[in-house]
């Protein structure tokens, strides 16, 4: 179970507290996985008593900004510079707390950052990152210091959401042909989410040395096993996955990035949880 308590002496409007916390949690605690099990008790509470604020300072608040477009009404949120600054502080703080949890994963020996870049949607990038983080085979390979990019690709390929979306896209395509209607943009993006020939995987060493390319645009690299072992012996590791690698990096394009933090899977995890019982 994840529990978190965060307190600050900033003065914040009660109605804005929730938006502030949800935004921070979505980029921190909701981006970690140790064993893929979502607890019945996960809670992060946030208190703000305003004790350090000068008396004449008004509580910080978000203001809703109604916008309309062709698809109907939607509400966007506007914040002042103080609230945006606080949001950055809270998000960074929550990320640091979340990373401590991963570092203490039961039996964990490694802290792994998974960074996925995509030129379709952030959701697609996150789905791929989550699938890698949940894969028991990827995590045992990391424990075994094995640069097993095959297991990483396998996890991306069955990522829930991405795989299902491709099926929906095919159904949309058939429907569009029958009804002679234009295809939905979302389904086109879903099909383009993962294209093997545009997928690359690298290890980014924690010591700042050069990245180790494992797969470039669907083609396996000649991996230096000794170098891979050196990188995997470090406590921290980053796995970089590019789903938008068309080999034309000079070309301007919109790239979104999802980051997820996880750890490896060791014998110790089984020992702890085989013993932890009602």
């Amino acid at each position: 179970t994840l529990l978190g308590i965060i307190c600050t002496d900033v003065k914040i409007d009660p109605a804005s507290m929730r938006t502030l916390l949800v935004r921070a949690v979505n980029k921190s605690f909701n981006c970690i996985s140790i064993d893929g099990d979502t607890s019945t008790n996960d809670t992060v509470a946030f208190f703000a008593n305003g004790a350090a604020a000068p008396e004449d300072v008004k509580p910080l608040y978000y203001s809703p900004m109604d916008e309309r477009d062709d698809s109907g009404p939607r509400v966007r949120i506007r914040a002042n510079s103080d609230l945006l600054a606080l949001e950055r502080v809270l998000t960074g703080f929550a990320q640091d707390l979340a990373k401590l949890v991963v570092r203490d994963g039961e039996g964990a020996t490694k802290f792994v950052t998974i960074r996925v870049k995509s030129d379709t949607t952030h959701d697609n990038a996150k789905r791929a990152a989550v699938s890698i983080a949940r894969s028991a085979l990827v995590k045992t390979a990391l424990y075994g210091k094995d640069a097993n990019w095959g297991r990483i690709l396998c996890a991306i390929g069955y990522a829930p959401g991405i795989m299902d979306s491709r099926e929906i896209r095919l159904a949309d395509l058939r429907l569009a042909r029958i009804t002679r209607q234009p295809e939905k943009e979302d389904s086109i993006k879903a099909e383009r989410a993962v294209i093997p020939k545009r997928t690359s995987v690298s290890f980014i060493p924690a010591d700042g040395s050069e990245e180790l390319k494992l797969l470039v645009r669907g083609e396996p690299e000649q991996v230096d096993e000794e170098r891979a072992k050196q990188i995997l012996e470090m406590e921290d590791l980053e796995i970089l996955v590019r789903l938008e690698d068309d080999g034309k990096s000079a070309e301007p394009k919109r790239v979104t990035e999802a980051v997820f933090w996880t750890c490896d899977f060791s014998h110790e995890y089984v020992t702890i949880n085989g013993d932890y019982r009602t």
Partner: protein, 210 residues
């Protein structure tokens, strides 16, 4: 369990901190888990004055009693007028039916009495509650209510107080997770604010909160 911190994890343990004004933290021993005979397993973090609060909760359909109850308190009070949060470790009070809900409410009401001895049982509590530990067991509520008054003497605003609270919420964690820092905001660069937080978790971790 032996809670000595492994050498490799010592570097994550803060030796000092800067804590937000007007907040107190502390811990007490309740003995929630029968095998625990010496470690504090009750933590309280509280504001000296009523303040706004909010929380994110698991989306798991089988929400534990403290999750359901705290969610209800936040909605009922419109996120206003909270004093703090009481946490027990050793028992999750999850899948414990209606009695579990009663126990979670009792935790909140008994904590309210620390700062408002005449608190009415009809009022919505000002305390949020959290539980962590084994799922599917009844909470030993008498042990907890007996220990809550001890918290009054054990709370404070020193680093030790905060660290004790962070330790008390641990289960299979190998080290307490406590952070604090200071910052300023653009419109009042001369005012220094603080933020402090603690977290626990080592297994059953794949949060999906809203």
């Amino acid at each position: 369990a032996d809670r000595s911190i492994p050498a490799a994890k010592q570097k994550y343990l803060p030796t000092s901190g800067t804590y937000p004004k007007g907040f107190l933290a502390g811990s007490a021993f309740a003995g929630v888990k029968a095998s625990n005979t010496k470690y504090h397993d009750l933590a309280l973090v509280m504001s000296e004055t009523p303040c706004p609060a909010t929380a994110t909760f698991t989306k798991n359909i089988f929400k534990a009693a403290p999750v359901a109850i705290s969610k209800h308190f936040l909605a009922a009070r419109g996120s206003e007028g909270f004093r703090g949060v009481l946490v027990n470790s050793g028992c999750a009070n999850a899948v414990t039916g209606s009695l579990g809900l009663d126990h979670a409410t009792t935790m909140a009401r008994e904590t309210d009495k620390l700062f408002n001895p005449t608190a009415s049982d009809d009022a919505v509590p000002q305390t949020l509650v959290m539980s962590t530990g084994v799922i599917g067991q009844r909470l030993p509520i008498r042990k907890i209510t007996a220990a809550i008054p001890k918290l009054k003497e054990n709370v404070g605003n020193t680093h030790e107080h905060w660290l004790n609270a962070a330790k008390a919420i641990c289960t299979t964690d190998t080290f307490p997770k406590l952070l604090s820092r200071t910052f300023t905001l653009p419109s009042h660069p001369d005012t220094t604010y603080s933020i402090a937080g603690m977290t626990k978790g080592a297994g059953m971790i794949h949060p999906n909160m809203a």
